[in-house]
Amino acid sequence: MNLRRHAQSGPLISLVPMIDVMLILLVFFMVTSTYLNLDMIPAVRPSEDGTAQASSAPEATLMIRIGADGAMVLQGIALDPAALGQRLTLELAEEPLMQVLILPSGAAPTQSLISVMDAAALAGVQRLRVLRLEARP
């Protein structure tokens, strides 16, 4: 005779729905998430970089003006970013230690300054300075 009491079964919690929900959550995050792809360009370099740059004087200087309309002017000639990059590459081939100064108009859009800095960086300019406007915003 079997006198053992049957073990009472508690409420059954199935893990399958939980796993389904977690998978749905995962897919949801993957599909709907938008990631901002942001980079940065240093505007003020940490002091160790600054001292290193100040230690050797530049051999030559080239100034790029940015007009109020965003036009980039090098030695009196308006250039687009690609042409500016080519020109800077040629200048750097002759004078590798050349310093490039950027003189932007206060009314120029931020994109134009970044485009000039971008072209200079692509051309391999190591010494780049932006002449900042000192007026109150």
Partner: protein, 135 residues
Amino acid sequence: MKLTRPKRATQSETIVALIDVVFFLLVFFMLIGRMDATAPFEVRPPVAQTGRDMPAGGITLAIAADGALALDGDDISVADLDAALSAELERQPALRLRINAHRTAELRHVLPYVTRAEALGLRDVVLVVTPERDE
């Protein structure tokens, strides 16, 4: 005619309904919420191919196309900016300031803040850019 009685819901089916509700609540909060401190105005950073990876940390100064300011997602006036930056700099001496300016913002609304931040003692100021063209 045979009338069958509907089956009673089991315990596991009740839990599934609960999970569904929780899931939809989660979706609701995700849709209306924001996960990062964003500016109260539209900011589309300028495009650059040579930007470096953005390190974590620091505070973000957002500048709108018309020159409006927001510090870490909250509107701030020009007059209050120096005090806010100084207070933050006291707490974090190696503070990084990210200037997230709209690409059409005039430079007279952007560059003076770099100078002011440097004058306050910030030694790590970066301009936020994006490598992706969206037009």
